[in-house]
Symmetry: C2
Subunit: 298 residues, 2 copies
């Protein structure tokens, strides 16, 4: 019988968090390999941090869709590498200018701006390197499709595009719709990619459900982020709290108010869960993960 | 009968330069697509500039190896996009801090630092997007191999790694060997990738010859760059001349002196040409291109 308890989920999540850490450790060049400082800074930025939500989404979707674990490993690593690169570049002085990341000095503070720039660049390349490992998938066309999904999720009509809109929105009054569009690109695109890549072996119905699930969880994730950013203090959050509101960036909380933002997060959560209804216990991890994401207080 | 004249080569090169411009124009999102400023800045940085040496190498290797023109187009575009992203990031204040590129304001001068950062990031994603176009190659495994070559050429053990070594070498006395290692990564890796991707359909002997050719031409290219940087004035070069020597970066000219550097360029050229000997007129464009690269005075 399947164990539906929270403690069972946390054990599963912990196992996968350790697993992705090992996969990334293996994928990143050792820090005694030239250029040593670059490799050391890449490891500093990509290892040992965060909840690995994107990797967990990838693994959970892989469990629904019976995607081989080696494929899920590579996909999860690729997505986490793209995420890590984006954090390094976002923290730079010309972007958000943030000194703290996951409770440690951000990459450009620990090293320098030039290194941080190259770290982000090289982490992005490494993501595509990992996902283009020869013979990863029995079906090579499937692997090409995965690479294409990742490239589009990262690019100017995905994550990088969302960043650009975010930057240009500072000091502007956005509508909820415009804010959603921005987040759909900035964080949503990569979260969707994480789940879709994990769903590589799924049926049409499964992939379509994962798509709806990921779209809604991606937005919920951002709404929660804005709520946490308002409520949490810097120590709990591991990054500078209240930063977005301080820098006059529109957030769900500033647009909707705290209560409506919380209700929205719950709605998005329910829609995400609803999409998984046909799949019973095979979607257990995705379902638990949705609760985990929308209830996090870390 | 094959036409071996310089004017015939220049006509071929012009045709391919126009062709890659069209391929890139098609691959880059239009600048009326959101986020408009990002797309406009991507087009500003990737279109209308340079001799497209990497694309020419790709097309010339494709002619030797009978690689389909659609594959050569995608490969050439991907390599040029990686090259364009690297120039945008290199010019940024935290790197080389260069205000001029190809005779125009560099991206961060024309727009701003944050935009330049995102332009580079998004151009890199676009390179992998273009090369992962579904059904590009009849042999999907070959396409995955091409993606893997590009990812490694761009990453921390390729171009980005070379950049890191270059940055850390400012003010240091490098040996010729160390300088070669640095350039082999910084410019050589992508130049090799350009030729190798073009050679995708080649025989073992052809691919191996292209490898030797590209390795030597890549180094020759850099030696010539250093010579031009010493000799040319800013207007002819389209970028700030004497910049590397001014910033106390080791160059072939500072290490070897001008005459020995010129002799080295000729040697590398001869070795490159020598590798093509077995292939007669089918290697004509690669051979002409080698002369073009080592004799350029633009």
């Amino acid at each position: 019988m399947t164990d539906h308890t929270e403690s069972d989920f946390l054990t599963w999540a912990k196992t996968k968090q350790l697993r992705i850490e090992e996969v990334l450790d293996e994928a990143l060049p050792p820090d005694d390999q030239e250029p040593q400082q670059l490799h050391s800074a890449m490891r500093y930025s990509a290892l040992g941090g965060g909840k690995r939500v994107r990797a967990l989404l990838c693994y959970a979707a892989a469990e629904l869709c019976n995607t081989e674990i080696e494929i899920a490993d590579a996909a999860a690593a690729a997505v986490e590498l793209i995420h890590a690169y984006s954090l390094v570049h976002d923290d730079m002085p010309c972007m958000d200018d943030d000194d703290l990341r996951r409770g440690k000095p951000s990459c450009h503070k620990q090293y320098d701006d030039a290194t941080a720039l190259l770290v982000g660049d090289a982490l992005q390349s490494l993501a595509f390197d990992v996902l283009s490992t020869p013979q990863l998938c029995a079906n090579a066309n499937q692997q090409i499709s995965m690479l294409n999904i990742l490239a589009k999720a990262a690019g100017s009509t995905g994550m990088a595009g969302g960043q650009a809109i975010d930057l240009s929105s500072v000091g502007k009054a956005l509508t909820q719709h415009e804010l959603e569009d921005m987040h759909q690109l900035k964080t949503g695109a990569l979260i969707q990619a994480a789940a879709l890549l994990g769903a590589a072996n799924g049926s049409l119905a499964q992939i379509s459900a994962v798509h709806v699930y990921a779209e809604n969880i991606g937005l919920a994730f951002q709404v929660i982020d804005d709520i946490l950013d308002t409520e949490a203090d810097t120590v709990t959050l591991g990054k500078t709290a209240g930063k977005d509101a301080d820098s006059n960036k529109p957030t769900y909380v500033t647009i909707l108010g705290l209560d409506v933002a919380k209700r929205l997060a719950n709605q998005l959560h329910e829609t995400a869960i609803g999409a998984l209804a046909p799949f019973g216990d095979q979607a257990l991890r995705l379902r638990q993960l949705a609760s985990f994401i929308t209830q996090r207080s870390f």
